[in-house]
Symmetry: D2
Subunit: 139 residues, 4 copies
Protein backbone atom coordinates (compact mmCIF):
# COMPACT_ATOMS: atom_id res chain seq x y z
CA UNK A 1 0.00 0.00 0.00
CA UNK A 2 1.37 3.47 -0.88
CA UNK A 3 1.47 6.19 1.76
CA UNK A 4 -2.18 7.09 2.23
CA UNK A 5 -3.68 10.21 3.77
CA UNK A 6 -6.06 9.62 6.65
CA UNK A 7 -8.53 12.31 7.64
CA UNK A 8 -9.99 10.41 10.59
CA UNK A 9 -8.57 8.58 13.55
CA UNK A 10 -10.17 7.11 16.65
CA UNK A 11 -8.55 5.91 19.88
CA UNK A 12 -9.30 2.36 21.02
CA UNK A 13 -9.59 1.52 24.69
CA UNK A 14 -8.23 -1.98 25.02
CA UNK A 15 -10.20 -4.33 27.24
CA UNK A 16 -8.62 -7.12 29.25
CA UNK A 17 -11.15 -9.42 27.50
CA UNK A 18 -9.50 -8.52 24.15
CA UNK A 19 -6.28 -10.28 25.17
CA UNK A 20 -5.66 -13.96 24.66
CA UNK A 21 -3.56 -16.46 26.57
CA UNK A 22 -0.39 -14.99 25.06
CA UNK A 23 -1.17 -11.63 26.69
CA UNK A 24 -1.70 -9.97 23.30
CA UNK A 25 -4.83 -8.69 21.62
CA UNK A 26 -6.29 -11.71 19.83
CA UNK A 27 -6.22 -11.68 16.01
CA UNK A 28 -10.01 -11.81 15.67
CA UNK A 29 -10.37 -8.73 17.88
CA UNK A 30 -8.52 -6.64 15.30
CA UNK A 31 -11.60 -7.01 13.12
CA UNK A 32 -13.78 -5.80 15.98
CA UNK A 33 -11.46 -2.81 16.31
CA UNK A 34 -11.94 -2.12 12.59
CA UNK A 35 -15.71 -2.36 13.14
CA UNK A 36 -15.43 0.24 15.93
CA UNK A 37 -13.30 2.53 13.74
CA UNK A 38 -15.71 2.10 10.83
CA UNK A 39 -18.72 2.97 12.99
CA UNK A 40 -16.94 6.01 14.46
CA UNK A 41 -15.96 7.10 10.96
CA UNK A 42 -19.49 6.99 9.60
CA UNK A 43 -20.83 8.75 12.68
CA UNK A 44 -18.17 11.44 12.14
CA UNK A 45 -18.98 12.04 8.47
CA UNK A 46 -22.69 12.07 9.25
CA UNK A 47 -23.80 8.97 7.35
CA UNK A 48 -24.60 6.92 10.44
CA UNK A 49 -28.01 8.17 11.44
CA UNK A 50 -29.84 7.34 14.62
CA UNK A 51 -31.89 4.60 12.95
CA UNK A 52 -31.20 0.99 13.75
CA UNK A 53 -29.95 -0.83 11.70
CA UNK A 54 -28.14 2.34 10.88
CA UNK A 55 -26.37 1.77 7.59
CA UNK A 56 -26.95 -0.37 4.64
CA UNK A 57 -23.77 -2.10 3.72
CA UNK A 58 -22.51 -5.57 4.31
CA UNK A 59 -18.89 -6.63 4.56
CA UNK A 60 -17.81 -8.69 1.56
CA UNK A 61 -14.16 -9.12 2.48
CA UNK A 62 -11.85 -8.25 5.35
CA UNK A 63 -8.06 -8.52 5.61
CA UNK A 64 -5.54 -7.70 8.28
CA UNK A 65 -1.73 -7.76 8.30
CA UNK A 66 -0.42 -8.11 11.85
CA UNK A 67 2.87 -6.18 12.19
CA UNK A 68 3.50 -6.08 15.94
CA UNK A 69 1.59 -7.32 18.99
CA UNK A 70 -0.83 -5.05 20.82
CA UNK A 71 -0.82 -5.23 24.59
CA UNK A 72 -3.06 -4.04 27.41
CA UNK A 73 -1.18 -0.77 27.80
CA UNK A 74 -0.60 0.01 24.10
CA UNK A 75 -1.91 3.55 23.39
CA UNK A 76 -3.81 2.41 20.32
CA UNK A 77 -5.51 4.54 17.69
CA UNK A 78 -6.92 3.44 14.36
CA UNK A 79 -6.75 5.65 11.31
CA UNK A 80 -9.47 4.86 8.82
CA UNK A 81 -10.35 6.06 5.34
CA UNK A 82 -12.57 5.21 2.42
CA UNK A 83 -9.99 4.38 -0.20
CA UNK A 84 -12.11 3.64 -3.23
CA UNK A 85 -15.66 4.00 -4.51
CA UNK A 86 -17.20 1.70 -7.09
CA UNK A 87 -20.76 1.42 -8.34
CA UNK A 88 -22.28 -0.52 -5.46
CA UNK A 89 -19.28 -1.08 -3.24
CA UNK A 90 -16.39 0.73 -1.61
CA UNK A 91 -13.14 -0.12 0.12
CA UNK A 92 -11.81 1.08 3.46
CA UNK A 93 -8.23 1.08 4.76
CA UNK A 94 -7.14 1.00 8.38
CA UNK A 95 -3.85 1.76 10.09
CA UNK A 96 -3.33 0.60 13.67
CA UNK A 97 -0.97 3.07 15.35
CA UNK A 98 0.91 3.16 18.63
CA UNK A 99 0.14 6.78 19.51
CA UNK A 100 3.28 7.09 21.61
CA UNK A 101 5.78 5.90 19.03
CA UNK A 102 3.91 6.25 15.75
CA UNK A 103 4.68 2.60 15.00
CA UNK A 104 2.25 0.89 12.62
CA UNK A 105 1.00 -2.20 14.45
CA UNK A 106 -1.38 -3.52 11.80
CA UNK A 107 -2.88 -2.70 8.42
CA UNK A 108 -6.41 -3.58 7.47
CA UNK A 109 -8.73 -3.41 4.51
CA UNK A 110 -12.42 -4.14 4.13
CA UNK A 111 -14.75 -4.18 1.13
CA UNK A 112 -18.33 -3.06 1.69
CA UNK A 113 -21.31 -3.68 -0.57
CA UNK A 114 -24.39 -1.46 -0.34
CA UNK A 115 -27.35 -3.68 0.34
CA UNK A 116 -31.10 -3.33 0.33
CA UNK A 117 -32.27 -5.48 3.22
CA UNK A 118 -35.87 -5.37 2.04
CA UNK A 119 -35.23 -6.37 -1.56
CA UNK A 120 -32.40 -8.67 -0.51
CA UNK A 121 -29.92 -7.52 -3.13
CA UNK A 122 -27.01 -5.14 -3.61
CA UNK A 123 -27.81 -1.59 -4.70
CA UNK A 124 -25.80 1.33 -6.10
CA UNK A 125 -24.06 3.62 -3.62
CA UNK A 126 -26.61 6.36 -2.77
CA UNK A 127 -25.79 9.83 -4.13
CA UNK A 128 -25.54 11.25 -0.60
CA UNK A 129 -22.93 8.64 0.29
CA UNK A 130 -20.91 9.23 -2.87
CA UNK A 131 -20.89 12.99 -2.40
CA UNK A 132 -20.11 12.92 1.31
CA UNK A 133 -17.30 10.39 0.98
CA UNK A 134 -15.77 12.01 -2.12
CA UNK A 135 -15.68 15.37 -0.37
CA UNK A 136 -14.41 14.09 2.95
CA UNK A 137 -11.70 11.94 1.42
CA UNK A 138 -10.78 14.42 -1.35
CA UNK A 139 -11.12 11.54 -3.82
CA UNK B 1 -27.38 -25.20 47.54
CA UNK B 2 -28.50 -28.72 48.52
CA UNK B 3 -27.58 -31.67 46.35
CA UNK B 4 -29.70 -31.16 43.24
CA UNK B 5 -30.70 -33.68 40.60
CA UNK B 6 -29.83 -32.70 37.05
CA UNK B 7 -31.63 -34.36 34.15
CA UNK B 8 -29.68 -32.58 31.44
CA UNK B 9 -26.03 -31.97 30.73
CA UNK B 10 -24.21 -30.56 27.73
CA UNK B 11 -20.50 -30.64 26.87
CA UNK B 12 -18.77 -27.33 26.17
CA UNK B 13 -16.01 -27.10 23.61
CA UNK B 14 -13.62 -24.49 24.95
CA UNK B 15 -12.32 -21.99 22.42
CA UNK B 16 -8.89 -20.39 22.63
CA UNK B 17 -10.73 -17.05 22.45
CA UNK B 18 -12.49 -17.93 25.75
CA UNK B 19 -9.19 -17.75 27.63
CA UNK B 20 -7.76 -14.55 29.06
CA UNK B 21 -4.19 -13.43 29.66
CA UNK B 22 -3.96 -15.72 32.69
CA UNK B 23 -4.56 -18.75 30.45
CA UNK B 24 -7.92 -19.48 32.10
CA UNK B 25 -11.46 -19.14 30.82
CA UNK B 26 -12.41 -15.53 31.53
CA UNK B 27 -15.09 -14.94 34.18
CA UNK B 28 -17.52 -13.30 31.75
CA UNK B 29 -17.35 -16.32 29.46
CA UNK B 30 -18.91 -18.51 32.19
CA UNK B 31 -22.12 -16.60 31.56
CA UNK B 32 -21.85 -17.34 27.84
CA UNK B 33 -21.40 -21.02 28.75
CA UNK B 34 -24.58 -20.81 30.83
CA UNK B 35 -26.33 -19.24 27.83
CA UNK B 36 -25.20 -22.17 25.67
CA UNK B 37 -26.36 -24.69 28.28
CA UNK B 38 -29.68 -22.89 28.65
CA UNK B 39 -30.27 -22.88 24.90
CA UNK B 40 -29.34 -26.56 24.63
CA UNK B 41 -31.67 -27.35 27.54
CA UNK B 42 -34.67 -25.64 25.97
CA UNK B 43 -33.97 -27.25 22.63
CA UNK B 44 -33.80 -30.63 24.41
CA UNK B 45 -37.13 -30.23 26.25
CA UNK B 46 -38.78 -28.93 23.07
CA UNK B 47 -39.59 -25.38 24.14
CA UNK B 48 -37.10 -23.74 21.80
CA UNK B 49 -38.91 -23.66 18.50
CA UNK B 50 -37.49 -22.69 15.14
CA UNK B 51 -38.86 -19.13 15.37
CA UNK B 52 -36.51 -16.24 15.90
CA UNK B 53 -36.47 -14.74 18.52
CA UNK B 54 -37.06 -18.24 19.78
CA UNK B 55 -38.10 -17.91 23.40
CA UNK B 56 -39.78 -15.29 25.38
CA UNK B 57 -37.88 -14.76 28.57
CA UNK B 58 -35.38 -12.18 29.64
CA UNK B 59 -32.66 -12.68 32.21
CA UNK B 60 -33.35 -10.71 35.36
CA UNK B 61 -30.37 -11.87 37.39
CA UNK B 62 -27.29 -14.05 36.93
CA UNK B 63 -24.78 -15.31 39.47
CA UNK B 64 -21.70 -17.47 39.29
CA UNK B 65 -19.42 -18.89 41.96
CA UNK B 66 -16.00 -19.69 40.54
CA UNK B 67 -14.54 -22.76 42.28
CA UNK B 68 -11.55 -23.74 40.17
CA UNK B 69 -10.04 -22.39 36.94
CA UNK B 70 -11.06 -23.85 33.57
CA UNK B 71 -8.30 -24.33 31.03
CA UNK B 72 -8.10 -25.03 27.31
CA UNK B 73 -7.95 -28.79 27.82
CA UNK B 74 -10.53 -29.08 30.62
CA UNK B 75 -13.18 -31.67 29.57
CA UNK B 76 -16.04 -29.38 30.54
CA UNK B 77 -19.73 -30.19 30.76
CA UNK B 78 -22.50 -28.10 32.23
CA UNK B 79 -25.41 -29.63 34.05
CA UNK B 80 -28.49 -27.45 33.97
CA UNK B 81 -31.94 -27.60 35.52
CA UNK B 82 -34.99 -25.48 36.10
CA UNK B 83 -35.00 -25.28 39.88
CA UNK B 84 -38.11 -23.27 40.57
CA UNK B 85 -41.26 -22.01 38.87
CA UNK B 86 -43.11 -18.90 39.95
CA UNK B 87 -46.00 -17.04 38.34
CA UNK B 88 -44.12 -15.20 35.64
CA UNK B 89 -40.54 -16.23 36.32
CA UNK B 90 -38.37 -19.26 36.93
CA UNK B 91 -34.90 -20.03 38.19
CA UNK B 92 -32.21 -22.21 36.63
CA UNK B 93 -29.18 -23.80 38.27
CA UNK B 94 -25.93 -24.77 36.59
CA UNK B 95 -23.06 -27.02 37.62
CA UNK B 96 -19.76 -26.79 35.72
CA UNK B 97 -18.14 -30.21 35.82
CA UNK B 98 -14.74 -31.58 34.90
CA UNK B 99 -15.96 -34.71 33.13
CA UNK B 100 -12.73 -36.59 33.84
CA UNK B 101 -12.61 -36.02 37.59
CA UNK B 102 -16.18 -35.05 38.46
CA UNK B 103 -14.86 -31.91 40.16
CA UNK B 104 -17.32 -29.01 40.35
CA UNK B 105 -15.58 -26.04 38.75
CA UNK B 106 -18.34 -23.48 39.10
CA UNK B 107 -21.94 -23.07 40.21
CA UNK B 108 -24.37 -20.74 38.52
CA UNK B 109 -27.91 -19.51 38.87
CA UNK B 110 -30.09 -17.34 36.65
CA UNK B 111 -33.56 -15.90 37.05
CA UNK B 112 -35.73 -15.65 33.96
CA UNK B 113 -38.86 -13.55 33.50
CA UNK B 114 -41.38 -14.40 30.80
CA UNK B 115 -41.78 -11.37 28.61
CA UNK B 116 -44.17 -10.24 25.91
CA UNK B 117 -41.97 -8.33 23.46
CA UNK B 118 -44.98 -6.84 21.71
CA UNK B 119 -46.77 -5.57 24.81
CA UNK B 120 -43.45 -4.76 26.48
CA UNK B 121 -44.30 -6.31 29.84
CA UNK B 122 -43.83 -9.49 31.81
CA UNK B 123 -46.43 -12.22 31.40
CA UNK B 124 -47.36 -15.41 33.27
CA UNK B 125 -45.47 -18.57 32.40
CA UNK B 126 -47.43 -20.23 29.54
CA UNK B 127 -49.24 -23.45 30.46
CA UNK B 128 -47.13 -25.45 27.97
CA UNK B 129 -43.95 -24.24 29.64
CA UNK B 130 -45.21 -25.00 33.15
CA UNK B 131 -46.31 -28.50 32.21
CA UNK B 132 -43.21 -29.37 30.21
CA UNK B 133 -40.81 -28.11 32.88
CA UNK B 134 -42.71 -29.65 35.80
CA UNK B 135 -42.71 -33.03 34.07
CA UNK B 136 -39.12 -32.91 32.90
CA UNK B 137 -37.77 -31.76 36.26
CA UNK B 138 -40.14 -33.86 38.37
CA UNK B 139 -40.98 -30.71 40.33
CA UNK C 1 -28.79 -2.68 48.63
CA UNK C 2 -29.00 0.61 50.55
CA UNK C 3 -28.08 3.87 48.86
CA UNK C 4 -24.31 3.63 48.48
CA UNK C 5 -21.80 6.38 47.89
CA UNK C 6 -19.59 5.92 44.84
CA UNK C 7 -16.33 7.84 44.58
CA UNK C 8 -15.42 6.54 41.13
CA UNK C 9 -17.21 6.23 37.82
CA UNK C 10 -16.01 5.33 34.36
CA UNK C 11 -17.76 5.74 31.00
CA UNK C 12 -18.15 2.65 28.82
CA UNK C 13 -17.96 2.89 25.06
CA UNK C 14 -20.37 0.29 23.76
CA UNK C 15 -19.16 -1.79 20.84
CA UNK C 16 -21.44 -3.17 18.16
CA UNK C 17 -19.91 -6.58 19.02
CA UNK C 18 -21.34 -6.24 22.56
CA UNK C 19 -24.90 -6.47 21.23
CA UNK C 20 -26.71 -9.72 20.65
CA UNK C 21 -29.40 -10.70 18.19
CA UNK C 22 -32.01 -8.80 20.23
CA UNK C 23 -30.08 -5.55 19.64
CA UNK C 24 -29.21 -5.26 23.34
CA UNK C 25 -25.92 -5.63 25.16
CA UNK C 26 -25.64 -9.35 25.88
CA UNK C 27 -25.88 -10.44 29.52
CA UNK C 28 -22.36 -11.88 29.63
CA UNK C 29 -20.91 -8.58 28.42
CA UNK C 30 -22.11 -6.86 31.61
CA UNK C 31 -19.43 -8.87 33.41
CA UNK C 32 -16.83 -7.63 30.93
CA UNK C 33 -18.03 -4.08 31.64
CA UNK C 34 -17.54 -4.75 35.36
CA UNK C 35 -14.03 -6.02 34.58
CA UNK C 36 -13.31 -2.76 32.72
CA UNK C 37 -14.70 -0.68 35.59
CA UNK C 38 -12.71 -2.70 38.13
CA UNK C 39 -9.48 -2.27 36.17
CA UNK C 40 -10.09 1.48 35.77
CA UNK C 41 -10.84 1.74 39.49
CA UNK C 42 -7.61 0.06 40.56
CA UNK C 43 -5.62 2.15 38.09
CA UNK C 44 -7.29 5.26 39.55
CA UNK C 45 -6.52 4.44 43.19
CA UNK C 46 -2.97 3.49 42.26
CA UNK C 47 -3.03 -0.21 43.09
CA UNK C 48 -2.78 -1.39 39.50
CA UNK C 49 0.91 -1.11 38.76
CA UNK C 50 2.57 -1.52 35.40
CA UNK C 51 3.51 -5.13 36.08
CA UNK C 52 1.72 -7.93 34.30
CA UNK C 53 -0.16 -9.76 35.77
CA UNK C 54 -0.91 -6.53 37.53
CA UNK C 55 -2.95 -7.43 40.57
CA UNK C 56 -3.24 -10.41 42.74
CA UNK C 57 -6.84 -11.23 43.26
CA UNK C 58 -9.14 -13.76 41.70
CA UNK C 59 -12.89 -13.44 41.33
CA UNK C 60 -14.72 -15.85 43.63
CA UNK C 61 -18.26 -14.77 42.79
CA UNK C 62 -20.02 -12.38 40.44
CA UNK C 63 -23.65 -11.31 40.30
CA UNK C 64 -25.65 -8.96 38.13
CA UNK C 65 -29.23 -7.76 38.29
CA UNK C 66 -30.42 -6.59 34.88
CA UNK C 67 -32.87 -3.69 35.28
CA UNK C 68 -33.25 -2.28 31.76
CA UNK C 69 -31.69 -3.11 28.40
CA UNK C 70 -28.56 -1.31 27.21
CA UNK C 71 -28.44 -0.33 23.56
CA UNK C 72 -25.78 0.85 21.13
CA UNK C 73 -26.48 4.52 21.82
CA UNK C 74 -26.97 4.30 25.60
CA UNK C 75 -24.61 6.83 27.27
CA UNK C 76 -23.36 4.28 29.78
CA UNK C 77 -21.18 4.84 32.84
CA UNK C 78 -20.39 2.41 35.60
CA UNK C 79 -19.98 3.52 39.18
CA UNK C 80 -17.82 1.19 41.19
CA UNK C 81 -16.78 0.94 44.82
CA UNK C 82 -15.11 -1.41 47.23
CA UNK C 83 -17.97 -2.10 49.62
CA UNK C 84 -16.36 -4.37 52.18
CA UNK C 85 -12.95 -5.57 53.32
CA UNK C 86 -12.38 -8.89 55.02
CA UNK C 87 -9.18 -10.70 55.96
CA UNK C 88 -8.23 -12.07 52.56
CA UNK C 89 -11.13 -10.92 50.40
CA UNK C 90 -13.17 -7.88 49.54
CA UNK C 91 -16.43 -7.07 47.80
CA UNK C 92 -17.11 -4.56 45.05
CA UNK C 93 -20.42 -3.01 44.00
CA UNK C 94 -21.30 -1.64 40.58
CA UNK C 95 -24.06 0.62 39.32
CA UNK C 96 -24.74 0.82 35.59
CA UNK C 97 -26.08 4.31 34.85
CA UNK C 98 -27.65 5.98 31.85
CA UNK C 99 -25.71 9.24 32.06
CA UNK C 100 -28.46 11.18 30.29
CA UNK C 101 -31.35 10.15 32.53
CA UNK C 102 -29.64 8.87 35.66
CA UNK C 103 -31.59 5.62 35.34
CA UNK C 104 -29.97 2.58 36.96
CA UNK C 105 -29.71 -0.05 34.24
CA UNK C 106 -28.02 -2.80 36.24
CA UNK C 107 -26.52 -3.56 39.63
CA UNK C 108 -23.51 -5.79 40.09
CA UNK C 109 -21.42 -7.27 42.85
CA UNK C 110 -18.19 -9.25 42.80
CA UNK C 111 -16.16 -10.93 45.54
CA UNK C 112 -12.39 -10.91 45.17
CA UNK C 113 -9.91 -13.12 46.99
CA UNK C 114 -6.27 -12.07 47.29
CA UNK C 115 -4.16 -14.82 45.83
CA UNK C 116 -0.49 -15.73 45.76
CA UNK C 117 0.05 -17.17 42.30
CA UNK C 118 3.44 -18.60 43.30
CA UNK C 119 2.32 -20.35 46.46
CA UNK C 120 -1.05 -21.20 44.90
CA UNK C 121 -3.16 -20.13 47.86
CA UNK C 122 -5.17 -17.20 49.18
CA UNK C 123 -3.32 -14.60 51.24
CA UNK C 124 -4.34 -11.73 53.57
CA UNK C 125 -5.09 -8.39 51.96
CA UNK C 126 -1.75 -6.51 51.84
CA UNK C 127 -1.47 -3.53 54.23
CA UNK C 128 -1.06 -1.11 51.29
CA UNK C 129 -4.31 -2.34 49.79
CA UNK C 130 -6.21 -2.10 53.08
CA UNK C 131 -4.99 1.41 53.76
CA UNK C 132 -5.53 2.71 50.23
CA UNK C 133 -9.04 1.26 49.94
CA UNK C 134 -10.12 2.30 53.46
CA UNK C 135 -9.01 5.86 52.80
CA UNK C 136 -10.46 6.10 49.30
CA UNK C 137 -13.81 4.62 50.25
CA UNK C 138 -14.02 6.29 53.67
CA UNK C 139 -14.78 2.87 55.14
CA UNK D 1 -8.77 -19.94 -5.61
CA UNK D 2 -8.76 -23.18 -7.67
CA UNK D 3 -10.68 -26.19 -6.46
CA UNK D 4 -8.66 -27.38 -3.47
CA UNK D 5 -8.66 -30.75 -1.76
CA UNK D 6 -9.37 -30.66 1.96
CA UNK D 7 -8.34 -33.62 4.13
CA UNK D 8 -9.74 -32.20 7.35
CA UNK D 9 -13.03 -30.67 8.41
CA UNK D 10 -14.43 -29.73 11.78
CA UNK D 11 -18.00 -28.86 12.78
CA UNK D 12 -18.58 -25.53 14.53
CA UNK D 13 -21.24 -25.19 17.19
CA UNK D 14 -22.58 -21.67 16.82
CA UNK D 15 -23.13 -19.75 20.02
CA UNK D 16 -25.85 -17.16 20.47
CA UNK D 17 -23.03 -14.81 21.57
CA UNK D 18 -21.50 -15.17 18.06
CA UNK D 19 -24.45 -13.37 16.50
CA UNK D 20 -24.68 -9.62 16.17
CA UNK D 21 -27.65 -7.28 16.11
CA UNK D 22 -28.48 -8.35 12.55
CA UNK D 23 -29.00 -11.93 13.76
CA UNK D 24 -25.98 -13.17 11.79
CA UNK D 25 -22.60 -14.40 12.93
CA UNK D 26 -20.48 -11.27 13.29
CA UNK D 27 -17.62 -10.82 10.80
CA UNK D 28 -14.91 -10.86 13.47
CA UNK D 29 -16.19 -14.22 14.76
CA UNK D 30 -15.29 -15.85 11.42
CA UNK D 31 -11.66 -15.38 12.43
CA UNK D 32 -12.36 -17.06 15.76
CA UNK D 33 -13.93 -19.94 13.81
CA UNK D 34 -10.75 -20.17 11.73
CA UNK D 35 -8.74 -20.23 14.97
CA UNK D 36 -10.87 -23.13 16.19
CA UNK D 37 -10.47 -24.99 12.89
CA UNK D 38 -6.72 -24.35 12.91
CA UNK D 39 -6.36 -25.65 16.47
CA UNK D 40 -8.44 -28.74 15.66
CA UNK D 41 -6.35 -29.32 12.54
CA UNK D 42 -3.03 -29.23 14.38
CA UNK D 43 -4.41 -31.46 17.13
CA UNK D 44 -5.56 -33.89 14.43
CA UNK D 45 -2.21 -34.07 12.61
CA UNK D 46 -0.40 -34.41 15.93
CA UNK D 47 1.58 -31.16 15.93
CA UNK D 48 -0.36 -29.58 18.78
CA UNK D 49 1.20 -31.11 21.85
CA UNK D 50 -0.02 -30.80 25.39
CA UNK D 51 2.43 -28.00 26.21
CA UNK D 52 1.18 -24.48 26.70
CA UNK D 53 1.79 -22.33 24.64
CA UNK D 54 1.33 -25.31 22.37
CA UNK D 55 2.58 -24.22 18.98
CA UNK D 56 5.11 -21.79 17.80
CA UNK D 57 3.65 -19.75 15.02
CA UNK D 58 2.17 -16.32 14.89
CA UNK D 59 -0.42 -15.09 12.44
CA UNK D 60 1.03 -12.61 9.98
CA UNK D 61 -2.05 -12.08 7.86
CA UNK D 62 -5.69 -13.17 7.82
CA UNK D 63 -8.35 -12.72 5.14
CA UNK D 64 -11.96 -13.72 4.83
CA UNK D 65 -14.45 -13.45 1.97
CA UNK D 66 -18.02 -13.48 3.27
CA UNK D 67 -20.28 -15.23 0.76
CA UNK D 68 -23.54 -15.76 2.65
CA UNK D 69 -24.68 -15.03 6.21
CA UNK D 70 -24.37 -17.67 8.92
CA UNK D 71 -27.25 -17.98 11.35
CA UNK D 72 -27.85 -19.64 14.69
CA UNK D 73 -29.19 -22.82 13.10
CA UNK D 74 -26.72 -23.08 10.19
CA UNK D 75 -25.11 -26.57 10.28
CA UNK D 76 -21.61 -25.16 9.90
CA UNK D 77 -18.38 -27.03 9.25
CA UNK D 78 -15.02 -25.62 8.33
CA UNK D 79 -12.67 -27.38 5.98
CA UNK D 80 -9.07 -26.45 6.54
CA UNK D 81 -5.78 -27.23 4.83
CA UNK D 82 -2.18 -26.16 4.76
CA UNK D 83 -1.93 -24.85 1.22
CA UNK D 84 1.71 -23.83 1.00
CA UNK D 85 5.01 -24.26 2.82
CA UNK D 86 7.82 -21.75 2.64
CA UNK D 87 11.07 -21.50 4.57
CA UNK D 88 9.75 -20.05 7.80
CA UNK D 89 6.08 -19.59 7.04
CA UNK D 90 3.08 -21.43 5.67
CA UNK D 91 -0.39 -20.61 4.42
CA UNK D 92 -3.71 -22.16 5.38
CA UNK D 93 -7.00 -22.12 3.50
CA UNK D 94 -10.48 -22.44 4.98
CA UNK D 95 -13.87 -23.22 3.50
CA UNK D 96 -16.99 -22.49 5.54
CA UNK D 97 -19.65 -25.01 4.51
CA UNK D 98 -23.33 -25.41 5.16
CA UNK D 99 -23.31 -29.16 5.84
CA UNK D 100 -26.92 -29.57 4.77
CA UNK D 101 -26.65 -27.90 1.36
CA UNK D 102 -22.92 -27.93 0.64
CA UNK D 103 -23.05 -24.18 0.04
CA UNK D 104 -19.79 -22.31 0.60
CA UNK D 105 -20.56 -19.56 3.10
CA UNK D 106 -17.09 -18.06 3.39
CA UNK D 107 -13.50 -18.52 2.25
CA UNK D 108 -10.53 -17.73 4.45
CA UNK D 109 -6.76 -17.66 4.29
CA UNK D 110 -4.13 -17.11 6.95
CA UNK D 111 -0.35 -16.83 6.81
CA UNK D 112 1.61 -18.23 9.72
CA UNK D 113 5.21 -17.49 10.63
CA UNK D 114 7.18 -19.90 12.81
CA UNK D 115 8.46 -17.97 15.77
CA UNK D 116 10.94 -18.53 18.56
CA UNK D 117 9.36 -16.85 21.57
CA UNK D 118 12.62 -17.02 23.52
CA UNK D 119 14.87 -15.53 20.86
CA UNK D 120 12.09 -13.21 19.69
CA UNK D 121 12.53 -13.88 15.98
CA UNK D 122 11.14 -15.99 13.17
CA UNK D 123 12.70 -19.41 12.62
CA UNK D 124 12.62 -22.01 9.82
CA UNK D 125 9.76 -24.48 9.81
CA UNK D 126 10.94 -27.46 11.92
CA UNK D 127 11.65 -30.66 9.99
CA UNK D 128 8.90 -32.53 11.89
CA UNK D 129 6.35 -29.90 10.81
CA UNK D 130 7.48 -29.96 7.18
CA UNK D 131 7.33 -33.73 6.99
CA UNK D 132 4.01 -34.09 8.79
CA UNK D 133 2.30 -31.38 6.75
CA UNK D 134 3.74 -32.50 3.41
CA UNK D 135 2.56 -36.04 4.04
CA UNK D 136 -0.86 -35.12 5.37
CA UNK D 137 -1.61 -32.64 2.59
CA UNK D 138 0.07 -34.66 -0.18
CA UNK D 139 1.99 -31.52 -1.15
Amino acid sequence: MPDPVFHFSTPIKIRFRDLDAFGHVNNAVYFTYMEIARTDYFTHVGLLKNEWPPIFFIIAEATCQFKAPIQMDTPLAIQVRVSGLRNSSFSMDYQFLDQATGQILALGRTTQVMYDYTANRSVPLPAEWRQTLTTFEEL
